[in-house]
Amino acid sequence: MTLSRRSVAAVVALALASLPPAASARATVALDGGTLVFFADTLGIVARDGATLRLPDGTRARADAAFVDLKSDRAVLAGHARIDHGSASASADAIALDLDADRVDLLDAASGATSTTHALRAPVAEAIDGERFAFPEVDDGNAYIRSRHAVITPHASARFVPAAFPTSVGGLPVPSYLYTYATAAGFGATSLAGAAFDQPYGLFGTQNSLTALHARWIDGLGPSVGLQQQLVNGDQSYVAASVDAPLHGSGTRGLNAYDRLGSRYTASLTANDGFGFFSSSAALTAAFGAAGGRVTFGYDTGGYTTFDASLRTPDLPLFWGATWRLQGDVGYDALRGGLLTQLPDARDYSLVWRHGIDAFVATPIVHAPLGVRIGTTFDANRTWYAFPHHNDSFTVSSTASRELSRKIALFAGYAATWYEQIYPGDQGLFFPGTSLPSIAPDGTPWPDHAAYTGATTLRDENLALQLTPDANTSVRVTMHHYDDFPQFHGYGRPQWALLGEARFRPFPNIGIDVGREYDFGWGGYTWQPRWTFAVMP
């Protein structure tokens, strides 16, 4: 059974991986032509060699050629144009009509323009409107999709039957292809786990829903096929539910929902199930002017629950353009069997309340000599627990930048965090020093590990060079020096790392973003691969 599922997943993944991206819709307007060409950035379809347009109200129009503008839901029929509605009909040299409004313009090259309705009631002479008769000058060779039949759901999507992808490298023709251009926030939502590559292929869709297959590559698991259903109510609310089936490994299921409750509140819910483990989280946010708050609750089948309620001030002016903000929170952590496992009576501490305060200060972008711009932030936090225990942290982060030219920029950054866990009277219990040397990941004895008694330091000094020779190309090289404690022979971050990243577009519809990190022999390893890959029109 498992083998069968994996085999099917492998076949589907391979088939989908060879296709360009997609989207979805329900038919309301049909466009046919000897040839249809679709351009994704202008959202325009041009029909040639005889075009026929059928509207849901029974209006039917035909001409030598047609242009449908999906941005404005408008069509222009050119050459021997004729429109029929019931028993009424009209002919013109060109016809412009709205797909979702009741207006038709007829252009006669000898006498000018008249305006009427889809029902073709008595035309009225009108001045020619250049925008309504606009027909784009396009190069068919640059089309994203070539087809013969399109079914258009205004403001949502267009299904092309069949569909070929002349500018997509390796894109195979398919019998049917759905392109979604709806912009509601929920269509970007996902309940699938993160993946190094995720290419959606719309199956079915309307203005408010989309069912899509996802061809995915998950780091550590390899290829996977996901199926996701999205239900969307504009930018107001959405639900995204998914199933993900890797070729190797267990399948996972996910749910992601969001609702905007008036102008002040939002509610969200996420849930994931997989590997025999279920986790969920619910959140409610509130806004009172620029101030606000958040309540979150999390639960998993490992017995862990967490609750947090926080309030924050707005960003308030401090001096010289700097701002500050306070945030306070209260909540609890709970774990079946007890949170403080070091204690003999751990079971008495299965739920521990906490409260905390956070102060954040940000400087403005300061213009320093030599064209350097500097921005700095400071963040201090203390959290107290019901058990004698508190955590302190302080973070400072500063970035300096200098644009040498429009195409070359230099950056220098410094970020440091000091973090300490304090158990008054019990520090030795929770961080027992030892005279025995620890062993680092590469096998080196590490006697100084005994010095770690709850205080951590993270320091990152970095320099970066960014080159942007043209709009489609960007190269960035960053050198990091991490000076942390604890940090030793593969434990923690590498002391030195060199990161190279490049974004470029080798073909018109392929954007690639790759990155590699070299760690100068940290714990026996050097190269850290990192890459993303996107196919786009």
Binding site: F39, D41, T42, L43, A47, R48, A63, D64, A65, F67, V76, A78, G79, H80, D93, A94, L107, A109, A110, A127, D129, G130, E131, F133, A134, F135, P136, E137, Y181, A182, A185, G188, A189, Q199, P200, D235, R260, T266, T285, A287, A290, G292, R294, S310, R312, Q327, F360, I365, G375, T376, T377, S401, A409, F411, N462, A471, R476, D513, A534, V535
Partner: protein, 202 residues
């Protein structure tokens, strides 16, 4: 065949200069209706046979403003450059767009001060099915990022800003999902986005 007819027509016509790119909507008798609804008069001896509605061509105008069609030439002037006196019928509202050209649209983004300093900022658009890592932006300074997009003139691309995943998508000041931003394909246009907050950072 079409080219031969066009060339034959060109040979019979007066010296063509300058030339203009147009998309024919229809050709009847001596009238040539072009994209935008304007109507030109054809030069003597020129016939409609080789003109295909919807297929871009180039036209030359003689001293009387009469048009002679030629094969499409990308270097021709846009239709908005045609002298208004050449039109037999001209629109009251004229479109000046040259939709064959590519334009650069610059997106400038300001991120909140609480943005982690080493995070990358991405533009996510409908074109990729809203991939949260579609295009990585270039950094300008600690809180500003920029991306130059090459688009067709009058293109329209809806986008949102992320830090590389849907869980890190932008939120507005009320911590709600904002409507998508729109990059219109206008020459040298700028879209400025001030990200108020992130979904994962309160």
């Amino acid at each position: 065949m079409i080219h031969a007819l066009l060339l034959a027509a060109a040979t019979a016509a007066p010296t063509p200069a300058p030339v203009y790119r147009v998309v024919p909507l229809a050709c009847t008798g001596d009238r040539l209706a072009i994209g935008g609804g304007s109507v030109l008069r054809l030069a003597d001896g020129v016939r409609c046979l080789a003109i295909v509605p919807g297929r871009a061509i180039t036209v030359a105008l003689d001293a009387d403003g009469r048009a002679t069609p030629h094969p499409y030439d990308r270097t021709g002037e846009p239709p908005s450059a045609i002298p208004r006196t050449a039109f037999v019928l001209a629109p009251a509202v004229e479109s000046d767009a040259d939709d064959a050209t590519m334009v650069t649209v610059t997106i400038d983004v300001t991120v909140p001060a609480r943005t982690p300093p080493t995070d990358d900022i991405y533009v996510s658009t409908e074109r990729s099915g809203w991939s949260p890592t579609e295009i990585r932006m270039d950094r300008v300074d600690a809180r500003h990022y920029r991306l130059a997009l090459r688009l067709h003139r009058d293109a329209r691309v809806a986008f949102r800003i992320t830090r590389g995943s849907y869980a890190t998508i932008e939120r507005d000041a009320a911590r709600a999902l904002p409507p998508a931003h729109i990059a219109d394909g206008k020459p040298d246009s700028h879209v400025t986005v001030d990200v108020a907050a992130w979904a994962d950072i309160d």
